[in-house]
Each structure stands twice: as structure tokens, then as C-alpha cells.
Amino acid sequence: MLTYTIRRLLLAIPTLIAISLIIFLLLDLAPSDPTANLPLTIPPDVREKIRQSLGLGDPIYIRYLLWCKQFFVNEPLNMLEQWFGWDIGGDRLRVLSWQTRSPVVDLIVQRMPQTLWVVGMSYVVGVLIALPIGIISAYRQYSWFDQVGTFVSMVGFSVPTFFTGVLVIVIFSVWLGWFPSIYDTTHQVTDWQSFLFQIKQMIMPVAVLALFNAAQISRFMRASMLDNLNQDYVRTARAKGMRERTVVLVHVLRNSLIPVVTVIALGVPQIFGGAIITEQVFKVNGLGQLLIISIQGGDLPTVQTLTFIFAVLIILFNLVADVLYGVLDPRIRYD
């Protein structure tokens, strides 16, 4: 298992390099000019100097290698310094955002908590809803609960989050006035009152994303339970006189969770993509919103770094899912 993990980790390196190159080339090919949004009164020679100062004068491979060095060497070193208070020394150039002229990694660190709170919470809630629904609908297949659950999950992943989001805003903020329609990220939790407000403003975005996530996971849970409920070991367990509860919730559930756990792991990076839209609906200024404004502003270093981080997440969680599968299911060992 360990050799398998190491092999996969090593294999991930060329993939990541290829992806970073693809993203870089794509951004470079594009006819986008970072100085296009500057005032027209700037004379052409000054404009050219601004372009030079952004590093646009260098040949493409130098810019790519420079970005690689900044991202893979300088930024990790910097993080080590900050976390452990070390002084490694040396003058390190960081990946700078063209819009704000501040390091991209700092921007990401600022935006991360909002995204993690909303998105992470919605994923947890989604999983917690999905598992019981999946279990019950599989156990009572074709009952009314199953029919309703299947319909709701079908609706859940057919209706895009940008419509459900807008819909809940219309219902709960415009008509009923229960929750604020805009997520206030400057809000700080200091006492009970502000904590309640935080809960209130989180309910809608979390519920919208959770519905979407729960829809997919509950389908998997149901299918996986159905696969296991007809297995011989279930009959054996019943024949030995075990209580139905034990049979379903211990024997069947444990085995059915194996594929579901990997699906949950695989879904983690996708929720960041989905969060881009939800953040836009509820005006959460998280990572998704940072990506959108940097795309609109032609801020290539930020876009490059953020997109690459998304790619790293995808590969990492693919790996986690595969390793988990091997760890949880002794029938599948890769070596």
C-alpha cells in the first residue's frame, strides 16, 4: 500500500507540471493586456515600461520557469518562515498579483476562511443529510420514502445552484425577510447575538450547496446499499438470528460506505468549482469571487495560481480516494 501511494505521488508530479504548463500557455496565448484597463492618458512608452515591470518583456519559458520557482520554492519557504518563525534568509520574489500588487498567496489566505466556512460546512451538512436518506431509501426500496427521495435528489442535481440560490433569496429574504440576502464577511463573532447572525447569514448558502451535494451522494449511497443488501453475507447474518438493526446498520452499512467514502473524497475539489457560482449569488468574497474578479481584471498571476491550486486539489483528492479505497477494502490492494 505504501509503495502504491508513493508511486501515485510520483506520478502526480508530471501531471501537475503538465497542467501548470497548460494553464500558463493558455493564459499566455490569450490576447489580454493587463494595461488595457489603465487610463488612456498614460503615454505609450510609460505603458511599455509598466508592461516590462510586470515581467511581460521576457521570453515565455523564462516567465514560466520564474513562476514555477516562485510558486514551488519561494512560497513554501515563505510559509515555513511564517509558521515556525525561522529565518531562512535570501531575497525571495513572491508571486505578485497585478491588480493589488500584493502576494497572491496572501490574498488566497485572506479569502480561504470564508470559502471553507460556507463550502466546507455545506459539504458536511450535505453528507450528513445524504447518508440517512440513501440508507432508508435503499432499505425500503420502492416505498413512498424512496420515491420521494429519488425525486428530490433528481431535482437536487438538475436544478442549478444559481437558480436555487436566487429562489431561496426571493423566498426567505425578499418575501419573508428571515435571512440577509448578502453574506457579510466582515462580520465578527464576539457574543451570542453576533453568533446567531452568523448562523442566519450562513443558512441559505449552506443549504443551497448542501442540497446539491446531498442529491448526488444519496444516489450513490442508495445504489451501494442496494448492491450489498442482496449479498450472501447478509442472509447469513440474518440466519444467525441477528437483529435487523445490527444487520443493516453494522454489516451492510460498513460495506456500502466503502465506495461512498471515495465518492465523497472525489467530490471535495468539485465543490470549490461549484462554490464559484454560489459565492457569486450570495456575494461571499471567497476564493471563487477572487477568481472571477482576477479573470475580469486580466490579473494573470492570480488566475494562474488559483487555477493551479484547484488542479492540485483535484489530483490530491483523487489520490486520497484511491488510497482510501485500498485501505478500507481489503479485497482491493494495489500491490
Partner: protein, 305 residues
Amino acid sequence: MTDIAPESLAEARPPQSQWRNVWDQFKTHRGAVWGMGFFIFVVLAVTLGPYLWTIDAQYIDIRARNQGPNLSHPLGTDQLGRDTLARVLQGGQVSMAVGITAMALSLILGALIGVVAGYFKRLDGVLMRLTDLFLALPLLPLLLVIIMLFRDTLRAAFGPETGIFMLIVFVIGITSWMQTARIVRGDVLALKEREFVIASRSIGTPARRMILRHILPNVLSPITVSATLGIANAIITESALSFLGLGFPSDFPTWGRLLFDSTDYLQQYPERVLWPGLAISLTVLSVNYIGDGLRDALDPRIRGR
């Protein structure tokens, strides 16, 4: 059942074509039939609708702006007095066209790569690594980046509407073929070991005819199922892009764009987001139900039970 002679079997049940059987099974899935009905309705509405509801979607009647549903404007009007029903119909045309074309593109790519990877052993490794690479790309951010960066060039080259249409269809197509390719490859690998393929190869059938005559017809069912899912995916992606303000221009409505424009007036006219949103959701829901029904109907293990 083995003792029944073939003649009596033939008498008991008249021979039916495979597609007839599929249709019979499909009919038993109630959601799928409803979905099919609704999908046909939407397609007819967006293609024939503009001939029946003749108000021009671009016609600005500023005196009739911000109206609620009434007789002359069944779904109301927007902030410039444009008729919402006409805009939803026209937007549907674009959304459906994008959905179907992008699906066709991704299907052709996916089937081609899947068949080639499954059939030619030498290309398998390369193509599957390519598929894995595409699967590891963060698609939504990349879509946004591509559209943001290339839309001005294409707009200048092909005009504002055609340029954006081609760009969106192209990017959705090339970022959604991977699942189809994987499924098709798996099926082709299994088919290659079947007797009829081996027999056909033993009489020297060339690869091209082998693929077209023997392999492709047999992988048609997974392709059909992923076609329906592809339409749903393409419609959602296009609306998401339009919703983020990176799709079609505002005077060229699509469902996502209409939804995006209506959210600005959410406080005053909350009902306005309903129509495009419902159109997207119901269409995608119906397509997903069709896919569900097709999957059951095309699976010979379920069919005939």
C-alpha cells in the same frame, strides 16, 4: 426453457426489432416518458414558438416596462419593456442549440477517443493519460479563463453572436468528453474479446470496417445515455457561464443570461427570475429523467423483466 423448440418460441412472440424492445421498456419508466414529453414540448416551443408569439424579443417598448403578467404580456416585461415570453422563447433557442451542439461535439470526441483507445492497443496508454489529464483540470475556472480571454478575438472574427456561440460550444465540447471516452473504451475492450469480433478479425476484416460494422453499433447504448447527460451538462454549463456574466451579450438572451439580468431586480420584481430559472431547471430535469429511462431500457439485463 431449453426444451421449447425454436419454432414454438417464434410463434409465441412475433419477432421484434431491438429498438422496439427498448421503446417498450422505456415506456414503463413513468418519469422518462414525462421527461420525453416535456423535452419535445420545449423543443417545439422554442423552435415554433417565435412564429406563434410574434412579438420581437428585441423590441423596446419603454412605456410598457416592468409590467407584471397580463394579457398582452403573459409573463410580463423587463426594465426596457421587452416581452419576457418572447425573450424566454428566443433564449431557449440559443440554450438548446448550445446544449445539443456541444453535446454532439463532446460525444464525437469521446466516442472517437474511446474507440481508438480501446481498439488500438498502442494508442491506449497515451489517450488514457490524456483523458486523466483532462479529468484533473479544474474545468469551471478554465472555462471562465478561456472565454474571458478569447471572446474579443472571436467576436471580431465572426461577429458578436456567432463568435460567442462557437466559443462556448467549443469549450464545453472539449471539456466534457472524458466520461464518454472512458465508458466507450471499457466497452470496446470487452467487445474485442467476444467471439464475433474475433471471428470477424480471423477472416481479415480491416480495422476501419471492423469499427464501423461491429464495434460502434454495440457501444451505441452507453453513447446514447451519455448523450442525454451531455445535453443536461451543456445547458447547465452555458447558463452558469452566462450567469457569471461571461456568456452571451445582454441583447442576445439565453436562459442563463435572462436569469442573470433578472437578479439585478430581485428586490423589486422577484417573480422575474422564475421563468428562465424554471425553464433551465425543468429542461435539465426532463433530460436527466430521459437519461435514467434510457439507461434502464438499453440495459438488456433489466429489459424484459
